[in-house]
Every structure is written in structure tokens, then in C-alpha cells.
Amino acid sequence: MLILGYIVLRTTQTQIFEFELFSLSGVTFSFTFILDKISITFSIVVTLISGRVFFFATKYMEEDPFATRFI
């Protein structure tokens, strides 16, 4: 994932991974993943904030009786 992200950010390429599930009446149902600059940078921001908030939550919720249910 890191390597792919590095390639996409360095080379302005868009990588598309397509897994075809089935085809019905000429309509193809597929799972498609896109790796481009928008998705990679947005994923970095989201993961960074989620990680920081998780660290904050472990301290913030430590006295809560249901903390195990939270994390």
C-alpha cells in the first residue's frame, strides 16, 4: 500500500484495480478501487486524525465503566 501510494504520488498516475463479480444482461457488476492523488492524500489525513483521536480517547475514556465497549 505504501509502495503504491509512493508510486502514485511521484508519477501522477492513476491506478485502477477492478475485480469483476458477475455479468448480467450486458451489465458488469464489479468492485473497483481507485488509487489517485486525491484518494491517497485524503486517506493520509483521515488515518492521521483517526490515530491521534484514538490516542486521545484511550486517556479520555479510561475512567469510563464501559470503556472496553468503546474501543
Binding site: I16, F17, E18, G26, V27, T28, F29, S30, F31, T32, F33, I34, L35, I38, S39, T41, F42, S43, V45, V46, T47, I49, S50, R52, V53, F54, F56, A57, Y60, M61, D64, F66, R69, F70
Partner: protein
């Protein structure tokens, strides 16, 4: 959330979308109080409205014979209703004007949840879809008009409600509404790259603002009323400093992060043909933002 970000087909989009809806519902009702349950159900119902609209767009896509999102930028889809329907679905997720009620209600959740939901995950999902859809091609005029209207009205309502709100978390939530309005407005005036830039800056400073608010709540033993938390600046100077800097960021004070994104959007608003009413609404919302931000600062510092 990452599932939604990397999704290229409408199926994966719906999986990520529903995953966000379900986890946010579970997190909002964590405290199991009546208020939290009401807020959770409100969020859930509005998110289900968004799901219904996405499923409706399935039928239009079936007529075209493919479900990949990136081909929606093609000219074939320029005037079709798919982009309009997906924009409407995004309106529900990012709490714009007709569907804005769930965002302040979701404050019943614990503070870390608010930080996550309001800064980077739930509300930005809708905007991310729109930016993904219209990365290169402009939107059709109907969708642009819808976005401009919803963005400007949400800005004004969010700012107006925050001026009279005394709950510190709700003030921050309503300021989120106001910033989302700005991002939607930038999409409406055909500057998606600026919208994405403001989305990043907003996600980072709003997360820090919520975490600082969480620390303030610990110090004041859970009191969220702005009138009762005066003087915390002396007890927790570093958190108070961070809070102050981020509040200044919210009004785009010079040399803060939001200065470079928000000012650019507001400046470009002058250079594109925008309806005068929407222009005036945005101007009024900008003045109101200054008012409520300095009111909060006066209470905290």
C-alpha cells in the same frame, strides 16, 4: 472510511457509506441516555434518506450499463440525473441545509467521537464523493445552483445558531456546519481543488479544536456551558493557547492555515458570476463567524 475513499464503483461506495452510518450511530448512542438515543436515531434516519437516494441512482446507472464512479465524469453523464442524485445523497451526509439537524444533535456522543465524526470522517464523506465525481468536468448548472444555495444558507444558519448557543461542543459543531457550507460553496462555483484544500485544513484544525474542548471538559468536570467555564486559560495554558489559535484559524486570521484556503474561496466568489442573494448571504455569514468565535474566546481565555 478508507473503503469509501478508494471505492471506484457504486457498490463499494454504498458499502463504505453504510459502514460509516452504522458506526456513527453506534458511537453516538454510546451513553445510552434518552438524548443520545434520540440523536442517534435522528442521524440514522437522515443517513437512510441518503442511502435511498443512492439506491435510486442505481436504476439510472443500470440504464447506462456500468457502475464505475470515474466514468461519471464523462459527457454522457453530464446532464443525467445521476450526479444530481449523488449530490443530494451527499447533502444528507454532510449535513447541509435541509438535512442539517443531525449534526448539532450528534454532540450527545463522547468528545473523541465528535472529533472524529465532525472533522475527518462522516461529514467529509459526502464532500469527498462530490470532489471525486467532478474532479475534471464541471457540474451541470442545476447541481451547481443547488450546491450554491445549500452552501450559503447552511453557512448563515450555522453561524446564526452558534451566536446564540451556550454549549461549547455545540458551538464547535455549528462552526463545522459553517465551514462545510464554505466548501460546498467552493464546489458550486467550480473550484473543487480549493474545496479539497479547505477540507484538509478544516479536518486538521477542527480535530485539534475538539480535542482541546475535551481537555477543557475534563478540567471543568463535564460542564459544557460557556458561561461557567471562564478562567480555564490560567489552569491549562497550553490547551487554551491551542484552542485560541484554532479559533483564530476558524475566522481565517492572517497566517493561520485556513487563511490561505478560506480567503481564496471568498475572493474567487467575487470573480465568478454568483447570484447576488447568495453572495450577500455568504458575506453576512462571514461577519457572524467573527462574532461567535470571539464570544467563545472571551469565555475560554
Amino acid at each position: 472510511m478508507n473503503f469509501l475513499i478508494f471505492s471506484g464503483s457504486i457498490f463499494l461506495l454504498l458499502v463504505g457509506w453504510d459502514g460509516l452510518g452504522i458506526t456513527s450511530f453506534a458511537l453516538i448512542i454510546y451513553y445510552e441516555s434518552g438524548e443520545a438515543q434520540m440523536a442517534g436515531f435522528q442521524t440514522q434516519i437522515i443517513n437512510r434518506v441518503g442511502d435511498v437516494i443512492i439506491v435510486l441512482s442505481f436504476f439510472l446507472l443500470c440504464c447506462r450499463g456500468q457502475f464505475t464512479v470515474f466514468r461519471l465524469r464523462d459527457k454522457v453523464f453530464y446532464n443525467s440525473g445521476v450526479v444530481l442524485l449523488l449530490s443530494l445523497a451527499a447533502l444528507t451526509k454532510r449535513a447541509q441545509f435541509p438535512f442539517r439537524s443531525w449534526l448539532p444533535a450528534a454532540m450527545a456522543a463522547p468528545t473523541p467521537v465528535s472529533a472524529l465524526v465532525h472533522s475527518s470522517t462522516l461529514v467529509t464523506a459526502g464532500i469527498f464523493i462530490l470532489i471525486r465525481l467532478r474532479h475534471r468536468t464541471p457540474l451541470c448548472p442545476t447541481t451547481s445552483r443547488l450546491l450554491l444555495l445549500c452552501g450559503s444558507v447552511t453557512c448563515l444558519l450555522g453561524g446564526w445558531a452558534a451566536t446564540f448557543e451556550n454549549d461549547i461542543k455545540k458551538v464547535i459543531a455549528l462552526s463545522t456546519l459553517r465551514q462545510l457550507g464554505v466548501i460546498v460553496f467552493s464546489l458550486g462555483i467550480n473550484f473543487p481543488a480549493l474545496g479539497l484544500f479547505h477540507l484538509y485544513t478544516h479536518a486538521l484544525f477542527k480535530a485539534l479544536l475538539f480535542l482541546a474542548a475535551g481537555h477543557i471538559l475534563i478540567i471543568t468536570w463535564g460542564s459544557q456551558d460557556l458561561r461557567q467555564i471562564g478562567g480555564v486559560g490560567l489552569r491549562i495554558p497550553f490547551t487554551s493557547l491551542m484552542f485560541t489559535v484554532r479559533r483564530l484559524c476558524l475566522v481565517a486570521a492572517p497566517f493561520t492555515r485556513a487563511f490561505y484556503s478560506k480567503h481564496l474561496i471568498l475572493e474567487l466568489m467575487l470573480s465568478v458570476p454568483v447570484n447576488m442573494v447568495r453572495f450577500l448571504i455568504m458575506g453576512a455569514a462571514t461577519f457572524i463567524t467573527g462574532k461567535y468565535v470571539f464570544r467563545t474566546l472571551k469565555s475560554v481565555v
